[in-house]
């Protein structure tokens, strides 16, 4: 799903800093910046509603906040950008508070939480050997069976067949059926006779 975020902050240093941090999380397809209250109003009107709004509380009134929340029926997540102490009563209106003192990891966690996700640690390398089920799918696939035929034969849904195929391609780094056929013969998963 394409996700979008708007960063509303008047300090250029802080706005740009957040922009680059958030860009590096690789979470959003669209990141827009606005520098004043007027531009924020324009952006909210002109573009489709973002998934997340990061805003300096100085740029938005309590009324406006409540309005946005109501109009989005709860789907818009909002976080306050704060430099110093702010009125607690105002901050409770936000889903999250990001302080300029927060470390990168902490900001990452907070942004992910706003989207109801947790950051994946990238150390988890993908498995490269095929599972038994993926092997079954591969065998039938390189013999020339369609997704539908494979699904009938293995008693799994076509959707599952497709997801196995995706996994196979990811693991082996081979996309075409013809390429997978060569792989299957090299590894003696099938014989030449099977594909004649």
């Amino acid at each position: 799903m394409a996700k979008s975020i708007i960063i509303a902050e008047s300090s250029e240093i802080i706005r740009k800093g957040l922009f680059f941090l958030i860009e590096s999380f690789d979470l959003f397809d669209s990141i827009k910046e606005v520098a004043c209250a007027k531009a924020l109003d324009d952006a909210m009107e002109r573009y489709q509603q973002p998934d997340v709004l990061l805003v300096n509380p100085a740029l938005i009134s309590r009324e406006k906040l409540e309005n946005l929340r109501e109009n989005s029926a709860g789907s818009l997540r909002m976080a306050a950008i704060i430099y110093s102490l702010y009125d607690e009563e105002l901050l409770v209106l936000f889903d999250e508070v990001i302080s300029v003192g927060d470390k990168r990891r902490k900001i990452e966690k907070k942004i992910y939480a706003l989207l109801d996700q947790t950051p994946e640690r990238k150390e988890n390398k993908p498995e490269e050997t095929l599972s038994a089920r993926e092997m079954d799918v591969l065998k039938l696939l390189v013999k020339g069976l369609s997704n539908k035929e494979i699904s009938d034969k293995l008693f799994i849904s076509p959707h599952t067949v497709i997801s196995h195929r995706k996994k196979i391609t990811q693991k082996l780094n081979i996309k075409s059926v013809a390429g997978l056929t060569v792989y299957a013969i090299i590894n003696e998963i099938i014989t030449l006779d099977d594909v004649q």
Binding site: N173, S176, A178, G179, T181, V182, I186, L192, V195
Partner: protein, 237 residues
Amino acid sequence: MKEFIITGKMKMADVINTDKRALVLLPRFGIELGFGDKSVEDICLAQKIHLDFFLLMVNVFLNKNYFPDKKLKDVDVDMLLLYLENSHSYYLEEKIPYLEGLIEAFKKKVEHPAILQLEKFFNQYVYEVKDHLAYEDETAFPYVATLSAHIKSNTLDFSEFDYHIGVFEQRHDNIEEKLSDLKNLLIKYFPPSNDRYLRMRILNELIDFEEDLINHARIEDKVLIPIVEQLEKHIKN
């Protein structure tokens, strides 16, 4: 490598020495090696190549981030088509036959039964590349040539076409996938055999060909298609 923008004042020899990928472009413009210390500008002048056009093509080919936008309207469409056709000839007459020869030699050296399937896969790939190039040469380019000729002579009835460049874009499908598979099969999966250098040479050639095709496709996407879209718009108004 740091990307650099080529200008008319540079020596052609320096251009090639700095980025060897520029080498394949020379025959596409009819430029022969052995040009001494002549500048890009001088060589273009002698060969009757529009300097701006040459620079545009070279820079788009070498830099994936180069945006030509405003220079496009001055491009001579016939020159562009000639360039693209020359690129195709290079693939068809030079690159592919050479690769075919290497695969043939590889097949003779390797005893593993999978070589037959690999060869079949390669032939299928070649067939698809040729089919794609033939489509462009026989359908897309002639269309662009007619369009441009009619605009020059101001005699055009758009209704005589049942084709438009949008079709080209859709058909401009990736022939890159199979090439990448072929590479991975040779790098990762084909079992070791007594062909050490031959296999490396095939891989080198495949990687080279892949890069050339990607750069070529970029010229079609960033130069040809926008120009034709402009021509089509011009006619519709």
